[in-house]
């Protein structure tokens, strides 16, 4: 066991953990944050995607022990995030979820896409979303929702939003 200290959804956490525990299992089993979903558990499906220091990572193939001192944001931590608020509304309006299993990973991924893209290029959005598998919607609604939020943000010059770590705007 090693003592692990990090910030999860804005709160400092310090817990003993086994080194082999993934970030996903740590979040779900030790912190009871069940919003992080596990699908494939080998980095292919995207359901477990969370933000680590503001950028999306696969929590199933990231060791919790490697996150010492880092800031993790799960779907439970998006409540006050302005970009995710817009994405939630767009997901509702565009019917971008059905069963919801992929949605936590989709939101973390979509937030990152919105932060790095200034034009709603459908091909680019599809390329970016290729790592997140949804078995319900057929993706069209998800792509439209992401495109809608990028388009909404574009006129205001992609002003800084949210509180999930350093912004990663396109260069």
């Amino acid at each position: 066991m090693t003592r692990l200290s990090l910030t999860v959804n804005g709160e400092a956490v310090s817990v003993d953990t086994e080194p082999r525990v993934s970030l996903a299992d740590f979040l779900r089993d030790r912190l009871a944050l069940k919003g992080t979903h596990l699908g494939c558990e080998h980095g292919a499906c995207g359901a477990c995607t969370v933000l680590l220091d503001g950028v999306p990572v696969r929590s199933c193939i990231t060791l919790a022990a490697s996150c010492e001192g880092a800031a993790v944001t799960t779907v439970e931590g998006f409540e006050d995030d302005a970009v995710v608020a817009r994405l939630r509304a767009a997901f509702t309006e565009e019917h971008a979820l059905q069963c919801g299993y992929c949605t936590p990973g989709m939101l973390a991924t979509a937030r990152d896409i919105v932060m790095r893209h200034t034009t709603p290029d459908i091909a680019a959005i599809r390329h970016e979303l290729a790592g997140c598998i949804c078995r319900c919607t057929g993706y069209r609604g998800i792509v439209r929702a992401v495109a809608r939020v990028i388009a909404e943000r574009a006129p205001v010059g992609a002003a800084p939003d949210g509180d999930c770590g350093p912004d990663a705007e396109s260069p």
């Binding site: 950028v55 696969r58 060791l63 022990a65 010492e68």
Partner: protein
Amino acid sequence: MKAPAFTFLRPASLDEALAALAAGEGEARILAGGQSLLPMLNLRMAAAETLIDIGGLTELGEIAEADGRVRIGARVTHAALEDGVGGDRWNGMLVFVARDIAYRAVRNRGTIGGSLCHADPAADWPVAMMALGATMQIAGPDGRRELDSEAFSLDVFSCALEEGEMLTAVSLPRLSPAARWSYRKMRKKAGAFGEAIAAVVHDPESGLVRVVAGSSPLGGPARHADLEASIAAGAPVEDAAIRRSLAAREPDLDRYEMQIHATCLRRAITEVMR
């Protein structure tokens, strides 16, 4: 799918990491981004008694230019290269290659050094680095040494690192503005590993001409010197010559495999010579 128990170390310096590797006597492994190693540990396809997480070694995350070559630290992520961090000196080639490695969430963790050492035959950086004439900077118990990418790449999932050694950086020449490159990959969907990869680079100023093909079942990357000679001479490269070159390297390619490898090579060569 959970990894077996292991000891986890997070050294604060390169010397500490090398000492931990030596103490592991062959049973310790370097953990960079872990995007291949962790799933393989979970699936019990890889084993380690000790993992040495190099995430704290800031010196390995730097990109610097000296004496006309660019040194990219081993733990620079695919995402950083996709974003052109440190500047683009390859007319967009590294940005292009990085953008199509797995997915952004994987690129945020996965590193160029990890990819090179893991030596997956379908990985992108081993092919791209050989095509750019990169050398590998290695640290070990006997000090530091350099190996060119051809000597570094041994076989499928196998590189030339000796016990106790680790990759610290890759060093590669910048391309001149007149240089042309092409990188072609056949894969079933965006983010999937390539079934066939071809990289061609021609820099008329430095004289660098490289034709590199890789991925299963060809195995790891290798140069096609006969095709390089044609490009250097400005001679047209016929499809039959590409197929002869591939067959000389791997006689057992079936029709499909020959077709996808030959197509990747032909497209890449055509794009560079256009």
